[in-house]
Amino acid sequence: METLIEPLGFAFFQKGLIVATLSGALLGFVGVYIVLRGMSYIGHGLSHAIFGGYAAMQLFAAQLYVLGAGLWGIASAIAITTVARRGRVGADAAIGVITTASFALGVALFSKFGTSGPAFDNALFGSILGITNSQIIWLVVVMAFAGLVVLLRYRELLFTTFDPDVAQASGIKVARVEALLMIVLALSILVTLNVIGVTLVAAMLVIPAVIARMLTDSFGRMLAISTIVGLVCGLVGMYLSYYAGVPSGTMIVLVGAVAFLVVFGITGIRGRERAAGVDEHSGPRATISA
């Protein structure tokens, strides 16, 4: 009990705990759609792309950081989906170039103008130092937005994730629904970047969703389980990171990985069957058949 209460005496830990827990839940929630659409590669690329905008804003216009980096992220997200949708050969390469170039720009900006050392590591692997109240508020706002989008567009999102062609033929504006999802994804990555870290955000999009997939065959339940798993990973990972003295993102991801192994062991063959190929059709999803 003592070990749980003691760190709460520090204001920075309180904020970190709130942000880590909420971030885990948000990424677990959004990750279900990303994993089932085979878009985890895009999630990975997007977090790197956003880092460029994040670095530029942090260094030069910190007060506008959410706005600037948010627009940067949404622009990257829409660029990536457009490239991926067109399904041309080389879409993967284009995404790779755009996102890694943006990441490299962020690294360059940080090395040139940033405070050397810790700040850079924190951005990559997550940190709870210097979390402001406004960051918490933004995180809550994005969570509310993501929840509202899923509530109001639940069936469209499900249908377009499962079967985009039939959804389109049934009168759903698939491109619009996908753009909306990419905006939610970009904003979710942006507000969790601080505490999880650029290089680890994609893992938290994937791990809770895959764990949830192993535990259920129902989409609705998968959404709920993945959110709870993400939340618990954030909470437990945060405490462990405090005691182990390692960056928050790394511990949160490690907790997720351990949870994955445990569930993998418990659910046995059935779980393996469920999760096999869960993130199969990554990259461009061109349905070309004559």
Partner: protein
Amino acid sequence: MSQPGLIDLASVSAGYGRTTVLHDVTLSIDASAFTGIVGPSGAGKTTLLRVLLGLIKPSSGTRTTASGLRVAYVPQLETVDWKFPVTVFECVLMARTEHRFWPWPSAQERTAVAAVLERLGIADLADRHIRELSGGQQQRMFLARALLREPQVLLLDEPTSGVDINTRHDVLHLLGDLHADGMGIVLTTHDLNGMATHLPHLVCVNGHIIAEGSPRDVIVPRVLEETFGARLEVLEHLGMPIVVDTSHPMREPI
């Protein structure tokens, strides 16, 4: 020009990127349609279906639809992600795309899904995961989802590939019933004897429309050779044409 149909294609060419798969297709689908699109693999059958559905925009020519047109689409079973976490009930319910504030189904929707599952004889499978179904049951589930939309036109891509003979029979019967109720039906098939000859109207396609008409009119050696690029003989059995491939005679076992 005859009466406008529910979906009309006028001199439509279409394809993917720079490749044109279909050339100069003119076709009208109305509520009385019960049409099979026939052709070899790569002939543009699915492309034609996708143009009719509006999933591919014509690179030239025009597609016009009746206002307020309701179509339903049954995709090929092979194109579906069967590992996706949905139950049969959840999958069928997707057809209800009308706006509803809450994600969960209304009592009316539950009744409607139950009724359509009952009609297709898979009511007891509602809570199963889609992977646990047989090919025939999967096809029925997609038919249920399509029917829940109460469409004017139902389009199906190879509805009898990958299902057994009994299911093929059932699917044909069901489509016949729906057609009798006034629903337009369009399907693609490469199965001449099992499917095409049982339909009242056929469109033979290979890059363009080669012939259109009743099986008696189009299941003839000249059209078949142009469509399939192979010499096929046509016999008649109980008044139905039967196609025999004579270009590849069966070999004696060695």
